[in-house]
Symmetry: C2
Subunit: 423 residues, 2 copies
Amino acid sequence: MADKPSFEALSAETLPLRLGRTDALTARIGSDTASWKVREVGDGNLNLVFIVDGPDGSAIVKQALPYVRLVGDSWPLPLKRSFFEYHALTRQRARAGNIVPEIFHFDEGQALIIMEFLTPHIILRRALIEGRRPKNIGRDLGLFLATTLFRGSDLSMGARARKEDMALFADNAELCDITENLVFTDPYFDAAMNRHTSPQLDGIVATLRADRNLKVEAQRLKHIFASSAETLLHGDLHTGSIMVTDDETRVIDPEFAFYGPMAFDVGMLLANFWMAFFAQAGHEKAGDRSVLRDELLDTVTEIWAVFRTEFSRLWHSERTGMLYDRRLFEDQGDALGSAQALDCLLHQIYVDMLGFAGIEIHRRILGLAHNADFEDIADENLRARCEARALKFGRHLAVNRNRLVSLQEIHTLAVRLERDEIS
Amino acid sequence: MADKPSFEALSAETLPLRLGRTDALTARIGSDTASWKVREVGDGNLNLVFIVDGPDGSAIVKQALPYVRLVGDSWPLPLKRSFFEYHALTRQRARAGNIVPEIFHFDEGQALIIMEFLTPHIILRRALIEGRRPKNIGRDLGLFLATTLFRGSDLSMGARARKEDMALFADNAELCDITENLVFTDPYFDAAMNRHTSPQLDGIVATLRADRNLKVEAQRLKHIFASSAETLLHGDLHTGSIMVTDDETRVIDPEFAFYGPMAFDVGMLLANFWMAFFAQAGHEKAGDRSVLRDELLDTVTEIWAVFRTEFSRLWHSERTGMLYDRRLFEDQGDALGSAQALDCLLHQIYVDMLGFAGIEIHRRILGLAHNADFEDIADENLRARCEARALKFGRHLAVNRNRLVSLQEIHTLAVRLERDEIS
């Protein structure tokens, strides 16, 4: 252990020298480091990301920094998040297949992961802002959610194996802390790192912070988030963690992975499509985003439908864990009992998912980490109008989630809010 | 490490020689081991328990065995449960005070704990069978529940500290496995280790195993039990884990400790009082248990009331964890918002508690580990009548828990069942 070099951040200049003898990399891109081209392309909040082009191919090198890149070294953050990202990626790839990129190499001490370079993929959020909807995202993301959430839970895993893995990921506490506080708490009081489009949103921000029911529900959802260790979550599944071509979908960046409630990943993901929906007015020219708006709502519907269908398929074909034992249902000739239990579970996921989605929308407009969907709207008055509609929608979801029977009804509300027919 | 002796079970004969130089013991009972008197008194399902009387005092030596004592060495069980018991005892004592016995010594390798000898305490279950109700148990157990469940949760602890402790106890997987399967699953199908009073209960057993709603609810509760890592639970809080005098109460034996839902400890404890209630008819002579029956229901009401009151007091005075942050409520002048959140939480605990209680009642009559409350009723027809009433009561709680508004209403039902006015 004493021989291991201590952590040092890579740069485009030092990368070829430092990784030139890493076989897992040279085998893919070629070993003539003099011909490598290295670009730093990280646009996230936390890490360095390099594209390394060699004579025989390209690869991604992602390295954690010991602080939050978005804020600076005043906010330290453990390098170990790279360890959790690596272990989440390998589990997700085993459970969900090629929608998760291939991992070539992991160096724990340097907190770096070398993985498949995705080309010509772009960030899904960027595609949506530009007005494009890749055609398979509904199917692919529904399948990703169902396979990872089901197979990481006590529905599928052995009880000891899940508990051991939960204990491993429990150490990812600093990343959980970010979610716990930045998502569930900070947006609802005057926290130092908050920001919002001001003064346009000052009024609604004050209203939301005085909204007792909303705050109670946000905290109840935080309680579920923190205590329900149901499955291995991605933990940060927004449209910036998804790369796409017109027909391919890849899910990346699970450094927030931990054991939490199934509904969280679903809710965060759908929230980001709903935000994209409300942001379109800020990007359109002469109503040219009307079709995409419809498609975004259809995508939400499709993700949920595919999730339900695939989750149900796994329930019947892979329910090998300790929960909802077949000996109590199918083996007693009571398949309908198993169906009843499945409906209860899917309903609970649906209800909680709506709550998490509402809170996610709020924190992206009121908290520290905003979305380009809204941020890229240069006209502040226009941006604020889009954001205000989304905030009201999020509040409605979080507070009324037990009473919102269908996504169809929810989407009717979204359309009316977007058209200012209701406010 | 190589010098440590491997595990060896103690006996009354070998104990003085083996523990005669353990200062924590000799300081309390005297070092003249020749005068020690040792009795093995373990009557539980899992462990050896010795009372060691020395010239200066007495102590308890509890040692885990590498198998389930109730079943034999065909069912291995990790010695490490002693480690979890020790760590649970020290945490509970810090949180709940002297209701938890003082620990003098822990030897991890020998899986033994040396602790305070409680005299003239007897097992609470035994007192209840004999027709006595110690006068402070309602208050003491309500306080134990509130202080341990509150202070072991994210309501009180730091987020990282709770996650680390949760990860530590996640390794207690084999003991959790016993609860997961023996409590929540085995009673509802023809599992090999099940037994029940037969043939008298054969009919109702068949009815319960064909009861779809009951089985679905049992599995939903198992799902909550396995995934909700809310607080450090005792994990086996029945009236056999409580020692009493007329005015003192002590809670022992937390080897099943792990991070689970608050409602589980509450529900298991109340279930054991309800079982004692239904068992009284098997022990009474000429109706002489009528007063005790009332007192047992009053005890349930008192435990719950004290729990609510103390939990609420801690909510207001010790809410230092990350959940239900004061900056969202009290600090904004919204104390009523905090009260609303507290009511939501207590209501959820109440509902889930009823469910866990119903399932606990079932497993004690249908599963492997029965209660002396019923087992000591020699007349099998009489025992079966008592058990059948309890089974119906348990089913009602588990299936209807969302609709049972008050304990008063529940106790009216219990009395009617006990009198065969309803069945």
